[in-house]
Structure formats: C-alpha cells, structure tokens
C-alpha cells in the first residue's frame, strides 16, 4: 500500500473561472486532469493509478455550477460541478426525480456528498456509480463542451450512450462535461433506485433503477437500468420491451425481470461475485419496478 497520508506526486494547479478558459487550459497543459470534488481523483493520484501533471479544478465555472429545478416543463438542469449534497437537500428533486434523489442519498457518506459532484461521479465512470442508472432511466442528456476553432462548442449525448467501459466515457481529451439536463416527468409516472452493498457506505454490488409511466392498470413507457453487473451501467432492454404497454401485475413483473440476464455480464471482483450479481439483479430490479409503480399511483396486487 502507498502512504496515503500525503501526495508525493507533483502537479500544477489551475482554477479557471470561465468555461472557455478551462477548455483552453485542458488543450494547452501537459497531461491535465479535471478536478472537481477530488474524492475519486485524489485517491487515484495517491495510489499512483493516475499521474497528472496539471489539475484543472472546475468548481467556479458558472455553467458547471448551475442548478435549476424549473416548475414547468423545462425540467431539471444540474451543472456537472454541483456537489451532491445540494441534490440531496432539494425537495423538488425527491418528489419528481425520486430515483436520482434516492441514489444521491444512498451514495457514500455526508463528507463525500459534501465534496463530490454529480459530474465527477459520472466522469469517473465506475460501472456501479450510483447516479448513472437513475439518470439513464429519467432520460437525462449530458451536455459536453469542447473547443472548435478556438470557440466553445457544445454537444449533447443521451446518458445511455455516455459510458463506454469501466472508467471510460464518450468524453474526448480536452472535452468537459458541463451539465445534465432532465425532462420533466409526466403525471402518473414514478421512479426508484435500489442497491445492494455490504454496508451502506459501500459502492453497490448491484443496483437497479426503474422509471415507468402508468395509464390506469397498464404500463406505458418503461425504462430500466442495472449497475455493477456489466462493464458499464446498462439498460435492461428485454425487460423494458416485455413490460411496456403490458397490464401491470406483480407476476408479470416477476416473469419479465428474468430477462435482465440478456443485458448483463457480471464479473467476480472485490465487492461481489458474478453468481451473486446474476441471482440478485432480477430481484433488485423487480423491487425497483414495484416501488416505482406505487409511486406512479398504482397498486401492487394480483
């Protein structure tokens, strides 16, 4: 084990106030890394896993610090550098974007949530990052900034396509995640996030996120995601297909969630085994769907 009391590595520190300046620094500096809350990156630097020559801390950039929950159809915008405690404390988030709120509240400790940012949790791209599944099922889009001809250029990527592997995302060198934009969920919709861990502080062994829209006793749109059971968070597309438009019943859900196996490819690692993850993925997914259904105003009975 390295000495984790200090950081022997040397790097320069930069704290741009504007997006353009941040992108120029990322383009100009040798071996730069974006620093937000530091809860993942500083550990990676301590262990030698990551050896940046320059850190660009992005907490002061207006576009990355934006946090607006609009009352109307405009939905939710969360800047990538918004610390997680602010999401935890936002009551409208708990009411409308419940799965995301649950994931934030379940994430690590108060100290980590005070420091860590939503963008940091996503860009670190752990296959079991708690906030990824809820953002996928709630239909979030990532707004990404880069330089094009010396000017700031923005592009948008759906969250389901944001992750490309463990620790890897669609972000190109020099690009910066700016914000997450979520549409306003319609009435009679509900969402839920559930995870299994050894103790509550831990990262998930396996997690499930569910979003659904209810029309009387039937399911309309259904979006489901599983974390910790594949190289990236994944949509459970076969289960979604089986349930979308179907009459709701616990037995229909129980039958459908078995098809989650088609979407996952779990491995053995320090937190759990592939076998346990295969056995538990349908269970947490089922429970997340039933909870989301109740939240959409539905009843759970045969």
């Amino acid at each position: 084990m390295p000495n984790t009391r200090l950081i022997p590595a040397r790097f320069t520190y930069h704290r741009p106030g504007r997006l353009q300046e941040a992108l120029e620094l990322l383009a100009r500096l040798p071996a730069p890394r974006v620093l937000a809350g530091g809860t993942d990156l500083l550990i990676q630097i301590k262990t030698g896993e990551c050896q940046p020559e320059a850190l660009v801390q992005v907490l002061d950039i207006q576009e990355l610090a934006a946090f607006t929950v609009a009352a109307g159809a405009a939905g939710l915008t969360v800047g990538a550098a918004v610390p997680l405690y602010r999401l935890e404390e936002e009551k409208l988030l708990a009411a409308r974007y419940t799965a995301l709120h649950e994931a934030v509240r379940a994430l690590a400790s108060v100290q980590i949530r005070t420091m860590a940012t939503l963008g940091g949790n996503l860009c670190n791209a752990s296959p079991s990052a708690d906030t990824s599944g809820p953002l996928i099922v709630l239909g979030a889009e990532a707004e990404i900034a880069g330089l094009s001809g010396g000017k700031v250029a923005l592009r948008r990527v759906g969250m389901a396509k944001f992750f490309t592997g463990p620790g890897a995302t669609v972000l190109q060198p020099g690009e910066l995640l700016v914000a997450l934009r979520l549409p306003e969920p319609p009435a009679a919709s509900g969402s839920a996030f559930l995870k299994l861990g050894r103790v509550t502080l831990d990262m998930a062994k396996v997690s499930a996120s569910a979003y659904l829209e209810r029309e009387g006793g039937r399911l309309r749109a259904v979006r489901l995601a599983v974390g910790g059971a594949a190289p990236t968070p994944v949509r459970a597309l076969a289960v979604e297909k089986a349930l979308s438009g179907a009459a709701f019943s616990p037995s229909a859900v129980q039958k459908a969630v078995a098809r989650v196996q088609e979407s996952i490819s779990p491995i053995d690692d320090v937190r759990s085994t592939a076998e346990y993850r295969r056995l538990m993925a349908p269970v947490v997914l089922r429970d997340a769907i039933l909870t989301a259904w109740r939240r959409a105003g539905g009843e759970v009975k045969e």
Partner: protein, 159 residues
Amino acid sequence: MTIALTVNGRRHELEVQPNELLLNLLRDRLQLTGTKYGCGLGECGACTVLLDGRPILSCQTLAVSVAGRSITTIEGVAGEAGGQHPLQEAFLEEGAVQCGYCTPGMILSAKALLDRNPDPSTDDIRHALRGNFCRCTGYVGILAAVKAAARKMRSAPAH
C-alpha cells in the same frame, strides 16, 4: 501559491504547494493535531473537518482548493470562551469515547448535523455519522451522546 484561509475563526496566510493536503497543513503547520489521519482513502472519517459548516475529509482535500474558505477543527468547536462544546460534554458523560481516535471527526460530523437539525431522529444521526468509523465503542454510546447533546443544545442554545 499563497492562500488565505480562516481556521477556527483565525485568518492565516500561507504559502502552499499544489499537492499539499489540508490534513497536513492543519496538523503539521498549524499544530492542530486533533484532526486525525486514518485511512487516507475516504473510508473512515477520522480526518473530518468542517468547511463553511459542512463536514469534509481533510485527507482528500488540497489545501489550495479551500483558499478563502472557513475551516473548523475539533480545537475550534468550543468557541473563544474555551471549556467544552455540549457534544464534547455528552461524549464524556455517555462513555462515547474509548481510544478516542475517531472522536474529533465524530464530533464534527455530529455538530454539522445538530447545527442544521436540532432534534434529529436516531435514523438522522446514523445517516449523518455513516462516514465516521469507530472500532471500539459499538456506536451505542455515540448515538446516546449525540441525542443528549441535542437536548442540551435545545435547552441552552448558546452554541
């Protein structure tokens, strides 16, 4: 780089290196050794201090990144008058301390909770202290101490 920061109400101007951790600035340069080095990896909470009233991990914080901010360590919880904070009194009275290594972080996390929520439920306390490990006491005394301190602070809201 030169930074200014306020620690326990006192302003300091310090020359810091980009790779210098807040933990070491507090312990080695300001001699505030109440803040402990535990795991160094964000698991144990022994290095907890308050940043503008909210708990953070000082072993995971670059000193340069908290320029201009206000830090409270265990040495600062009692305030200028000295004596003990109600949480410190309650930890002693309830036997919530054994080896004491986790206690500064535990008290700071509890202070941040009580400053926002003067009447927390047991679940609220457990949620707030989830990031502070104690390997001696079994937590029962700690929960009792935080509840006792909350009662004290509600009846005499000086702190």
